[in-house]
């Protein structure tokens, strides 16, 4: 009787969670705990500019995030972007190319005017046509035609990759009256 009672108590103790838990170690060699991203947090407004180095045809996406105001509310999962973009922001976007080019004169915005081929400099490229904001669009696209060694391009924004490239292609073909089949696109938001 006593033996069976001891057996039952031992069985009960073994079944308790405290007996099943493994000992925890806190050694300094332990890997850090995983970082859990808050994926529901709204992303910062990001304004993207496409800028190009005509000497190498390198194309850069300059991304500028904007810190929200204290009480700013997201709409549709993203924080609103400023309606006015000051020239210093656009200048900073062009700096992304200027810093990486051997000749400052070859850095231009990605949206090029009809006179670009005659005078391929920044004055024949449009800053406001070269930017897309993340509160309205997800992708920034570009479409170009090649004239000798230079890509002549226009920029478009879109909610999808195809829409952004299609818009850019439409703008390029109507502006330059050429077939603009060289295209590219990128998400405006930087990867998290």
């Amino acid at each position: 009787m006593i033996r069976s009672l001891v057996g039952a108590v031992a069985g009960l103790l073994l079944a308790m969670p405290a007996c099943q838990a493994a000992a925890l170690s806190f050694g300094i060699d332990d890997a850090p705990p995983p970082i859990v991203l808050d994926t529901t947090k709204p992303r910062l407004c990001t304004i993207g500019w496409l800028v190009a180095d005509t000497a190498t045809n390198d194309l850069f996406l300059a991304r500028m995030q904007v810190a929200p105001a204290l009480n700013e509310k997201p709409a549709g999962g993203s924080l609103p972007c400023p309606t006015e973009v000051p020239p210093r922001m656009a200048a900073r976007a062009l700096d992304v190319c200027l810093a990486r080019a051997t000749d400052a004169k070859t850095c231009v915005f990605g949206d090029m005017t009809r006179g670009f081929l005659d005078r391929p400099d920044v004055r024949n490229s449009a800053e406001n046509g070269s930017r897309c904001a993340s509160d309205l669009y997800r992708y920034i696209g570009i479409a170009c035609w090649r004239s000798g060694d230079i890509n002549v391009c226009n920029v478009g924004c879109g909610r999808t990759d195809l829409e952004a490239r299609g818009t850019a292609q439409g703008r390029c073909e109507s502006k330059h009256q050429k077939s603009c089949t060289i295209t590219g696109s990128s998400e405006i938001l930087a990867p998290q």
Binding site: L59, I182, T183
Partner: protein, 215 residues
């Protein structure tokens, strides 16, 4: 000209439609035609900047460190000695020491270098997959205080006439590093695509570009 009766006009319209559909189907089904790739422009993505809400000033959005550069290059970082750099390479260059290195004459100060073929450099291809000519190479440039520049010199050959795509891929990997950690520049000289990646603390050396000697 006598107009066709209405039923015939309808039949002729259907025939034209069917022919057009068939031609479209052939185009769609012909793998040779369907697989003509539209040229795709690579877009390089430097790290973003974050502006304050009043749009007065900006700061880098990412917290990259020299460890990120070291991870990208398979263990290289600024200030390493020639012997240490050589020790990291998958295929060692024999007889590397400061006294035995060649002088880089485009600099006014005592700058020395050695080089290795790109196809022997595994991690230093930084994940690029596009082709390069067999004679493409990387130059490791040192000042007395150690490594301050990697210079990729990409050339074509009959198997890979244009190394431009590889140049774009390699440049793109370094463009993604903060400017304060690694200054990357892409230019062309002497028929080569050159990508210089330089220690930002190297002073006037950061501005000097390589030019091939006139023959």
């Amino acid at each position: 000209m006598v107009a066709s009766p209405a039923p015939f006009r309808k039949q002729r319209g259907r025939l034209v439609l069917a022919l057009l559909a068939g031609w479209g189907g052939v185009l769609w089904a012909d793998p040779a035609l369907a697989q003509i790739p539209a040229p795709v422009l690579p877009i390089l993505t430097p790290p973003p900047a974050t502006w304050d809400h009043d749009l007065l000033s900006a700061r880098p959005a990412l917290g990259q460190t020299l460890t990120d550069l070291s991870v990208l290059t398979g263990g290289l970082t600024w200030g390493m000695t020639p012997v240490d750099v050589n020790g990291v390479l998958p295929v060692r260059v024999p007889g590397i020491n400061w006294a035995g290195l060649a002088s880089a004459t485009e600099y006014q100060s005592d700058i020395r270098y050695f080089w290795a073929r790109l196809d022997s450099l595994g991690a230093l291809r930084v994940g690029s997959t596009a082709c390069v000519g067999r004679n493409s190479y990387v130059v490791f440039l040192f000042q007395a205080s150690g490594l301050f520049r990697l210079s990729y010199r990409l050339t074509g050959d009959p198997a890979c006439p244009n190394p431009g795509a590889a140049a774009s891929q390699i440049f793109g990997r370094y463009v993604a590093m903060e400017w304060s950690l690694a200054q990357s520049i892409h230019y062309r000289a002497g028929g080569l695509d050159i990508i210089d990646v330089t220690d930002p603390t190297a002073g006037y050396l950061t501005t000097i570009r390589w030019q091939p000697r006139a023959r």
